[in-house]
Symmetry: C2
Subunit: 139 residues, 2 copies
DNA sequence: TGTACTTCCTCTAGTGACTGGAGGTTCAAG
DNA sequence: CTTGAACCTCCAGTCACTAGAGGAAGTACA
């Protein structure tokens, strides 16, 4: 079973151009070609591409995905590193969440400060955007 | 009172190179220069730069900041637009938060699936990263 | 087999919002 | 007047793609 780049794109949910980009970056290996120079992929490529896609969806940076791909190429190594990557990513997601929560509070305050029927000159929203002193904390 | 670019940088918490970039992009106006061609800024520039910085910290895209800066140049206009920008940003922050929450749950599941003392070959973390089917929902 | 139509190819450049470095000049303190 | 930090311009690089030009290959149907 072989796939054209378009098939692969549909199956994995990754754009055609992005697949070519991944190949160029060495994230997937250069596939076979037809006589007419078109790429033909196999199941393995699909799996690998899905792995990458899923990792990206989970917010992993490409560097982490590279590490994980490298790891999966060495099945006899201990898996501490894979574990670490997952935990690191979890921590950074939690960080981002709490940062965004602070932001949310800030923006709520700012958005609520506008009663609606006045002009820019005395708009509290603009003042609030301009002045960090009004904020409760850091963001 | 005038500031060198370094002074301004410290006062506003924006890097020197970034200030020059903002000038190039027209976000701040080209400042006066000394005889030796060095930039000299005033209080107005500092205010404007702080406005930009604060907006960025609040997660606004540059396009929104541009809009707000334009608005504040027309003090007699109604301020609906400033209000709208704040509300839009609030909605998008909330979106991002709930997206990250789903991610967090996913990563928790993945990170917990590794008991620690085995090899890559049977590592559930790697399997989990590779397989979206294991996930509870979208991310 | 012909023809249309879609998909594919490479190559280059652009995105956003900066960041970094090279190579040289100016400023301010002592 | 000297020293050393700060400044100047210009260019390239970052990340992870995305878009477009200009042309070739594959495929479905008559």
């Amino acid at each position: 079973m072989t796939f054209s780049i378009g098939d692969l794109s549909r199956q994995a949910g990754v754009k055609v151009t992005t697949i070519r980009y991944y190949e160029q970056e060495g994230l997937i290996s250069a596939p076979l070609r037809t006589d007419g120079n078109q790429r033909r992929f196999g199941e393995k490529d699909l799996k690998r591409l899905r792995f990458i896609k899923h990792g990206r969806d989970l917010g992993l940076p490409m560097s982490a995905i590279r590490e994980l791909l490298d790891l999966s190429g060495h099945p006899d190594q201990p898996c501490d590193q894979a574990d670490r990557i997952a935990r690191d990513q979890l921590l950074s997601v939690r960080d981002r969440i709490s940062q965004l929560r602070r932001l949310e509070a800030e923006l709520e305050r700012i958005a609520n400060s506008c009663s609606g029927d006045h002009t820019v000159a005395d708009c509290d929203v603009l003042k609030a955007f301009g002045d960090h002193g009004q904020c409760k904390g850091e963001h």
